[in-house]
């Protein structure tokens, strides 16, 4: 199924929650959705027989300076097609529903995004820091991150 068709299907189903299609320069194309609708859209993408995106290949946080985003890369083993899903979040208190009960694979990726960007995934089974120590301050992949000089008295 082509990206445009997927977008049209999603828009028909979810209306305003599906914001736009990022096609030009994007590979795969991204369907931008409202953060609150991520979970419903995900479930639909996974369960609709024509779409059946059964695997979440990648979930990444992105810092677009004025906004955060969470990008989902989906792939369907059944139909062998791929699509991206993106949710734009405000810089202050970025949070959106977790999709780890749609794709269990999301858990580690979400933890990583939480760890490195500070994006909170509501309803996640287990949202802890994953790569950094539990008492690390700040979220290093944010563009405005300041490197600390010391960590527990050790020079970084």
């Amino acid at each position: 199924m082509e990206a445009q068709a997927i977008f049209d299907t999603l828009q028909g189903k979810f209306g305003d929650a599906v914001v736009e299609l990022q096609g030009e320069g994007f590979s795969p194309a991204f369907v931008v959705v409202a953060p609150a609708a991520v979970k419903e859209v995900s479930r639909f993408l996974k369960e609709d027989p024509d779409l059946s995106f059964d695997s979440l290949m990648c979930l990444s946080g992105v810092d677009y300076k004025e906004k955060f985003a969470v990008a989902y890369h989906l792939h369907s083993l059944k139909h062998r097609h791929a699509i991206g899903l993106k949710a734009m979040l405000p810089r202050e208190n970025p949070s959106l529903p977790s999709v780890d009960d749609v794709w269990p694979a999301a858990n580690f990726h979400e933890r990583e995004a939480f760890d490195l960007f500070g994006i909170v995934f509501e309803g996640s089974k287990d949202l802890r820091r994953i790569l950094l120590p539990e008492d690390w301050e700040g979220h290093p992949l944010r563009k405005d991150y300041k490197y600390p000089d010391f960590y527990h008295g050790i020079k970084v």
């Binding site: 979440l56 890369h73 062998r80 694979a105 580690f108 820091r129």
Partner: protein, 376 residues
């Protein structure tokens, strides 16, 4: 005799397996909660090797990031090199000379062999048989000799470039590659006789940590771990890139020959069989390789167009996906590397429930994880 649990209260024991442990393949820490030898819960704790590769990527140029991809998966640095090159080429739409693509495929497949050799060798060492490990290392050294010949280094190759490869194969390289393949292919049968079908080895692996196909897909497993569950999905075949469509090879899947489909033994056998397929691919590539340049013209100050790509390539430890956002400057804007081992660790807690301590080792080995890839 009836069990008198109330009379003798017992409590579970929490054990730290790692970060320093001989068979966690690096600095993985697993927090085991055990009831005697039986593990009731095994929680992986990763991140001990986090070097912030993604952050580094935002600060160096596209070409400069190439040596860092060596450190992504040091056992399969060629595959990571090429994955990065392919991702950037996809972003900037660069045409790569055909000879360069052939060379990439040759080194990638050789690296897949050497990486699977380590997987095989360290797995047998984990299971207590130390000898096959040294045999595997011996074969791997030969691959390293080949790599040293073509790129000058034995571990961190930095061979691929955006637009091609750093240098053409030196004279004699292709002949030596063929020589290696002729030497190596019979060794696989020897391994099978020596250890793969050994009764003890089979018993240690069969029916341990069974991952059904649906679960493997839902948890996003890729590469040999996914194929071990019987899902015939190989990016080289199903989403072909480079010159892979020109080669004839088989996608190896688990068959459940010694137990349930998707157990440790299947994942192990997939790797052994994949080595054979890689030998096949390299043979064809060496026979078909065309002449020509090996590096496309890429401007020295390389600025790809604005855009976002996600490139997936089949690395020995599963799919290495590179999500690359360019803002048109010389540095990547955002770079996310999705690696096979990282995703696999997500499933770890689930499949290890109720196994024994010795099985934890077997599971870690069968996933063939590598820590720099998990922690990046």
């Amino acid at each position: 005799m009836t069990a008198r649990t109330d009379a003798l209260p017992t409590q579970e024991m929490t054990i730290n397996m790692g970060p320093q442990h001989p068979s966690t393949h690096g600095v993985l820490r697993v927090i085991l909660t055990t009831d005697g030898e039986v593990v009731t819960r095994a929680v992986p704790d990763v991140g001990y090797l986090h070097r912030g590769l993604e952050k580094i990527g935002e600060r160096v140029t596209y070409a400069q990031f190439m040596p860092f991809t060596d450190r992504l998966d040091y056992l399969a640095a060629m595959n990571c090199n090429c994955a990065w090159a392919w991702a950037v080429e996809k972003l900037a739409k660069i045409e790569v000379p055909e000879r360069a693509e052939y060379l990439r495929v040759i080194v990638c497949e050789l690296n897949r062999i050497s990486s699977h050799l380590i997987a095989f060798g360290s797995y047998t060492a984990d299971m207590g048989a130390f000898t096959p490990f040294l045999y595997a290392i011996r074969e791997r050294e030969r691959v390293n000799d080949l790599f040293e010949m073509i790129c000058g280094n034995r571990l961190t190759y930095n061979y691929a470039r955006v637009g091609g490869v750093s240098g053409d194969a030196p004279p004699g390289f292709l002949e030596k590659t063929k020589e290696f393949l002729d030497y190596f292919e019979p060794k696989l049968d020897e391994y099978n006789n020596l250890i793969s079908y050994n009764k003890i080895f089979v018993h240690r692996l069969a029916n341990v940590a069974v991952i059904p196909a649906e679960e493997a897909v839902a948890y996003g497993l890729t590469g040999p771990n996914l194929r071990g569950s019987g899902v015939p999905f190989d990016l080289r075949k199903d989403e072909p890139y480079s010159v892979y469509p020109k080669f004839d090879f088989k996608v190896c899947v688990g068959t459940g020959e010694r137990g349930k489909l998707g157990d440790c033994f299947d994942r192990y056998m997939v790797r052994i069989n994949e080595m054979r397929e890689s030998v096949k691919i390299v043979r064809q590539a060496v026979a078909q390789i065309p002449d020509g340049p090996v590096l496309a013209k890429v401007p020295r100050v390389f600025k790809p167009p604005v855009g976002e790509v996600y490139f997936r390539s089949e690395c020995p430890r599963g799919e290495t996906g590179i999500y690359l956002i360019s803002d048109g400057s010389v540095n990547p804007y955002r770079l996310k590397i999705r690696t096979g081992s990282f995703v696999t660790m997500n499933l770890f807690e689930k499949v290890t429930r109720g196994l024994m301590i010795a099985d934890i080792v077997a599971v870690i080995g069968s996933f063939d994880i590598i820590l720099p890839e998990i922690d990046r």
